[in-house]
């Protein structure tokens, strides 16, 4: 059971990691943001899977914090990108 959960974690991590190619490639700022957002959601899924495979105190709270703040960083990015483009 635990092995399958770890395998799924690897799969999602690898998938989100490949998505980071968009951070490199762009071309828009929004594209880079989206890859970071995908990695954030992927990291949350990986944390949940790791906790299910081998429970550790605090893992769920870490996932909760990422869920709360992961998109928050992206919101700041959008607002700041707005400001960057203002003359």
């Amino acid at each position: 059971m635990a092995e399958i959960l770890l395998l799924l974690a690897i799969f999602i991590l690898a998938s989100a990691g490949i998505g980071l190619w968009r951070v490199l490639r762009g071309p828009e700022r929004a594209d880079r943001l989206m890859a970071a957002q995908l990695l954030s959601t992927g990291a949350i899924a990986v944390l949940l899977l790791l906790d299910a495979a081998a429970p550790q105190a605090g893992l769920l709270d870490t996932a909760l914090v990422l869920a709360l703040l992961g998109a928050f960083a992206s919101i700041a990015f959008v607002l700041a990108a707005r400001q960057v483009e203002r003359p």
Binding site: M34, A35, L38, S74
Partner: protein, 97 residues
Amino acid sequence: MIGALQGLGLLAAAAGAGFFLAGTVGLIRFPDTTSRLHALTKADNLGLGLVVLGLLPFAGSLGAALKLLLVWGLVLLAGGTVAQMIAARVRGTEPGA
């Protein structure tokens, strides 16, 4: 009973992982930013949602299960907002721009 539920859970989690892969493929292969946004939200909403659903039978306590659901709810809420903001930005219809 729990074993069967956990088996179903693994299937759901595997389907969620599939949506993550779909999100990545879409993010890389789709031709323009708004299409790629479409791909991203699938991973956010469905991918994580199915993983959370699949992990519910593995939760050690009711509190842990509720925390799992809260994680998904937060990602839905925040992810949806970001998607709207990015889309408004890309289409040039954002307020105050």
